[in-house]
Each structure stands twice: as structure tokens, then as C-alpha cells.
């Protein structure tokens, strides 16, 4: 045991120890300075402030928040906003990025040239500039009364973007939980089959059909039915549907556009990394284009694409913090307000950095697990 520790610690033992001690000393000095300053202005260090009431409003939040609720709840609301925009951003940027990346490989000169320019412009200008631009556009949209409706259901107004939403009408409120349970059961079934290596097309379909049937019968029994609520003009405002605030819409658009360009480049590189011989061999076997992409090219391209996209997702999550510059109440902006109103800036920043580290670790763990699935068997990385 001791021997292994010595081997791990390596040579130059006293020098290393002295270096680490010096670092700890400097760090300790910094902390004691901070504590001294806090004592002088009369602020009690520690996380006790989380329980006291926060006297500011939050523009939009996934959980109900009023001025006077605790700081803990305010920070939680900010964290949920960050998670919401990052998650949506990752999904939409992936979809758009794959489409753009594949379209960029087109042999059509006009299309590939257009996409080339789109990618160069989005890649070579700052994200913050693009966010300011989208924010200016969101503010310059017409008022609800004059706003044009796309397909009669989507309204782009200066009070935000209105899109249709799906709601359950009638039936008991506990139905949602039942639905979620049925869905989770189906997912768990598929996952167990998958992990035990017994997932075939037949029993996979059976699992999906079973859970779908469970959901439908639950719906029928409770008398609830899903209703699409389309936004519509009512007086000076638009009612119904889901309202995305201008800040949220601008942030999401900016993140999706910027990162779709980055992901498009990754997808292009991944597909191009599959040699022409693979295409020719697959054609010689008589596969058609769709089959070639699905069975031959994509499995190999994903090995290049997955690790690179992972770091794109991490960057997107971190860059969602630019929300603070356009007034969307994400984690960073709430932390900033908290630090300014309580004076507990050290604790607030510890929470901020801790949260982002946790999100990053979770996301990389998830993507690494996926990467292990698509990676070359027997290769070590």
C-alpha cells in the first residue's frame, strides 16, 4: 500500500510537497482576506443566506416564484432555466446541424456554397454579437395586433413568440402521473431488454405497443383527451398556446444557429472520414443509398462525430450563460443578482461553479456511455 503510494507520488517528493503547501498557503491567504473583508462590512460567511427571502422578481421561471421566496428557490429557478435552454438548444442544434452538414455535402454548387458562407459567417463572429442581433430582431417584431401568423398558429411578436401547445382537458389531475408512469415503464422495459442483450425488433416493438396501449386505455378510462391549444388574437394581445419570451427566443435562436454551424462542420468531417471505398463496396453489394447511409456510413462516421459533439454540447451549456447579457434569468444572472443583493459573492460563485461542474460531469458521463457504444470494439481510447 505504502509502496504504491510512493510510486504514484513519484520522484522529487519534498519539492512537490513544498509546491502544494505554497499553493495552499496562497489560497489560505486569499480566503482569510475575503473573510476579513466580509467581517468588516458585516456579512456573515456561509450558506445561511439561502434561506432568507429574495426581494426581486424573476421574469420567467419553470417553478412558481414570487418576490419574497427564498434565495434557494430563486437559484433553483435560474438553474432550471439554464437546463431548459441548454437541453432544447442541444436537441435543436443537433437536428439543424445534421441537416446543414448533410446538405453541405451536396454536389449542387449553389447549395453547398450557400451553406459554406452560412457556416463561415456564424463561426467567425462572436456569439454575444449574434445574441444582440437576435435580441434586436425580437424587439423589432410587430405588436401582437399587427403580427403576421405563420400557418395561422405561430405568432412572432415583440412580446415573444407564440406557439401551439398540447394540454390535457378533463379527467383527473393525477392522470399526468399515470401517463408518465406508463411511459417510464415502457422505457424501462426496452432498456432492460437492451442491457440483457435480448432486444430484437419484435419484442422492442411489442414493448412500445404495450406502453402505448396502456397510455391510450388510461386516457379513455379517465375521459381526458389531448387538446391542441393554438394561440389566437384576442383584443390587443394573443391568448392561448405557449408564449416564449423575447429573451428566451433570442437566446435559443442564437445558441441553435451558432452551434448548428459547429455541429454541421463536425458531421461533414465525420461523413467525409468514411472512405469512398466503403460507398463503392456497399453499392457493389446492392445496397441502396438509404441503406448505405444507415448501415455502413453512419456507424463509422459516428465514431468521429460523437466525441466532438460532446464537447460542442458542453460548450453550448456553458455559453448559455451569455443569457446574462440579454436579460434572460438564467443561473448566472440570478447568481449575479444574489451576489449583489446579499454581498455573499464568494458563496454565490461557489454555487455557480459547482452547478456548472455538476452539469458538465453528468453530460460527459452520458455522452461517454454513448461513445462506448458506438466506438470500435476492442479499441481503447
Amino acid at each position: 500500500m505504502l509502496y504504491r503510494l510512493r510510486a504514484w507520488w513519484g520522484g522529487w517528493p519534498l519539492g512537490q510537497l513544498a509546491f502544494l503547501l505554497a499553493l495552499a498557503l496562497v489560497g489560505g491567504l486569499f480566503v482569510s482576506n475575503v473573510l476579513g473583508t466580509m467581517a468588516r462590512i458585516g456579512i456573515l460567511p456561509g450558506f445561511g443566506f439561502l434561506g432568507s427571502s429574495a426581494n426581486f422578481e424573476i421574469g420567467e421561471s419553470a417553478i412558481a416564484f414570487r418576490a419574497g421566496d427564498t434565495y434557494f428557490k430563486a437559484i433553483l429557478a435560474g438553474l432550471l432555466n439554464t437546463l431548459k435552454v441548454s437541453l432544447l438548444g442541444c436537441v435543436l442544434a443537433t437536428v439543424l446541424g445534421v441537416v446543414i452538414g448533410v446538405a453541405g455535402l451536396s454536389r449542387n454548387l449553389l447549395l453547398s456554397g450557400l451553406i459554406r458562407w452560412f457556416i463561415e459567417i456564424t463561426r467567425n463572429t462572436p456569439l454575444l454579437l449574434q445574441l444582440f442581433f437576435w435580441m434586436a430582431i425580437a424587439k423589432a417584431l410587430p405588436a401582437p395586433r399587427q403580427a403576421p401568423a405563420l400557418f395561422d398558429t405561430v405568432f412572432l411578436t415583440n412580446r415573444g413568440v407564440y406557439i401551439p401547445s398540447i394540454a390535457l382537458e378533463g379527467g383527473p389531475f393525477g392522470l399526468l402521473a399515470a401517463l408518465a408512469l406508463a411511459g417510464a415503464l415502457g422505457a424501462a422495459l426496452v432498456l432492460t431488454l437492451r442491457l440483457s442483450g435480448r432486444l430484437t425488433r419484435r419484442n422492442g416493438t411489442a414493448a412500445v405497443v404495450l406502453s402505448a396501449a396502456a397510455i391510450l386505455s388510461l386516457l379513455a378510462l379517465s375521459g381526458a383527451r389531448p387538446v391542441v391549444q393554438a394561440p389566437a388574437l384576442a383584443g390587443f394581445n394573443i391568448r392561448g398556446g405557449l408564449n416564449l419570451s423575447p429573451e428566451f427566443a433570442a437566446l435559443l435562436t442564437g445558441l441553435v444557429v451558432k452551434f448548428s454551424a459547429l455541429i454541421a462542420e463536425i458531421v461533414r468531417a465525420g461523413i467525409q472520414s468514411v472512405g469512398a471505398g466503403q460507398w463503392e463496396a456497399a453499392r457493389a453489394l446492392g445496397l441502396h443509398d438509404g441503406q448505405i447511409i444507415r448501415l455502413v456510413v453512419l456507424p463509422q462516421a459516428l465514431r468521429v462525430i460523437t466525441p466532438l459533439t460532446t464537447s460542442s454540447y458542453l460548450d453550448l451549456t456553458k455559453d448559455s450563460s451569455l443569457a446574462v447579457a440579454i436579460g434572460f434569468p438564467d443561473l448566472v444572472s440570478i447568481i449575479n443578482t444574489t451576489a449583489n443583493t446579499t454581498g455573499q459573492s464568494m458563496e454565490a460563485l461557489i454555487i455557480l461553479i459547482g452547478s456548472f461542474l455538476a452539469i458538465n460531469l453528468a453530460l460527459s458521463a452520458l455522452m461517454n456511455a454513448y461513445n462506448n457504444r458506438v466506438a470500435l470494439r476492442g479499441s481503447t481510447r
Partner: protein
Amino acid sequence: MTKAFPRLLTTLRTGLFGTRTNTLITLATLLLLTQILPPLFRWAVLDATFTGSAEACNRVGACWAFVTAKLRFILFAFYPSDLLWRPALTILLLSAILTASALPGFWGRPLLAAWPFTILACWLLMQGAFTTTPIASNQWGGLPVTLFVWTVCFAAATPIAVLLALARRSTLGGLRTFSVLYIELMRGTPMVGILYVAMLILPMALPDALSLDKMLRAIIMITLFWAAYIAEVIRAGLQAIPSGQNEAATALGLGYWRTQRLVILPQALRIVIPGMVNLAIGFLLATSLLAVIGIFDLLNAARASANDPQWLGFYNEAYLVVAVVYFGICFGASRYSRWLERRFSGGAAAAARKE
């Protein structure tokens, strides 16, 4: 020359109308372009106002008169207007050393030695040190601030990054652990968080005798932040060096530092130069975050220029101007990085042919 034109015509014909789907794609793209380009052209040229005051601008088209009136502010922000030669000279100095660093012919010790002196000269020049009109850093702004923070932080972060990368690959457990923790902590934190540390924590953490202005605090924290990113790129270069190089150097009797300095690092750093250029492009774009802590970098100056009561609301024009500046630098740098990559791989191929 005479054959080039018909060949181009053939390429265009097959590229645009080669097959039926190709023709369809061309037509659909053209339809999309007719939706986008004419309104843009109307805004930028037909309806635009090129001269005059804000009243002359019609709000339908672009107001290029705004750009002529506010260009000085966008480029230099609040720097006193009678002393503009100082930031202008700073831009020139920084451009000169960046250009020299980009040309492989200049790579060597003299260039390395010129770097700290150039940075110091720029700092003193902007400050107006030793003159009767010193300018505090909260009055600096615009392009010189963006360029200065970018180059200084990148230049200062690189030596730290080399040490971090070496520590991460060393056999010394304590240093290795420290390096891994440091790099992962920095890479897991958004840059905005780092800037808040510079704004809120650093003034409290430093002893009272050592009070630094906001610009310097931001530069210190950004340097520490970027060092982690650069260290990861350099580590990739170190990993690409075959272990035989290390063993051969040890067999020659070289110690650790001499092995690294004379054998490993010259090869590893050469490999990672294109990667470093790509990183530098990302960093230039990231300097725009300085706006969040109220420093008037190029982007923030552009935003402030459209907040002027006389010229209120010409944000699109202001953003377009700085977008062109950012795009020009970054697009040029990314082309340069590709050229360098080709040159290096070409050199390797030529060396292989010689053997």
C-alpha cells in the same frame, strides 16, 4: 487560360443542372435567395442614407451616415479624442507583432524576446505613462482593448499552459493531480463565471496594499482561464511524440528539463500550432464577454455608440461594422491555420520522400 473558361462552364453546368434532383435543388435555392437578397439589398443600398444627420435617416433603410459619424467611437470608445494616436499606434504595434509571429521565417529567439517588450510598450502607451496626460484604463475602449486583452492573455497563458501540460503528463503524482484538477475546474466553468470572480472575489482576496484596476484583474483571470484550454491542446502535441524520442534523449544523458526543452517541446509545439491558431480564433470571439463586466471592448463600444441620444437605435449598423471586423480577423486566421497545416504536412511529406 483559353481552356480554363470552358472547363469552368462544364463544372457549373454539371454542378447546377447535372441531374434532375440537382436542377430542383438549384431552383429551390434560387427561390430562397430571391426571398432574402432583394430586401437586404433594398435595406443596405436603395433605401439607405449615406450622409447627413440622424434626422436624415428614414428608419426603413440602413443609416450609413451613422457609421461615418460614430466610427471613431466604435473603434476607440471613450479614449480622449486628441490623444487617439496612442491607441492607433497600439493597434499598429500589436498587428505588427502578430503578423511577424504568423510568418514562419520570423520564428526564433528574437521574436520571442520581442513579445514582452511589445506588450509592455502597448500598456505604457495606452496609459500614457511618463507623460503629463495619463489615461486610466477605465477610459480605454474599442478595438485596442479587444486586441490587447486577446494578445496579452494568450501570450501570458501559453507558458503557464506548457507547465500545466508537462505536469499533467509527468510521473510526479502531486503535480499531476493538481494539474488535472486545475484544468478540469477551469474547463468546466463558463467564462462569464471567471469574469465575475475577477470582478467580485479578486478585490476582496488580494491584500489591501495590492489594489488592481478592473482591466488588470480581468486580464489575470482570463490568462489563468485560457491556460487550461491551451494546456489541453499542448498535451495532445506531447502525446503525439513517440516515446523513443524521450528514451533516446535519456540515453544521451540529458536530464528532464533539457530533454523537454531541446527534444520534446520543439517537436510538440510545432505540431500544435494550427490547433493553437484555431484556439486563438475562439478566444478573440470570447473577448466580447468583457462587455458583461462593463469593459468597453469592440462589441460593447458598438452597442454604446447606438445608445447615443443623438443617434439612438442604429444597432444593426453598429453590429454590422464590428461583425465585419471580427469576421475579417477570424476568417483570415482560419485560412492562415489551414495554409500552415498544409505547409507542415507538405514538409513532412517532402521529408519522407527524401528518405
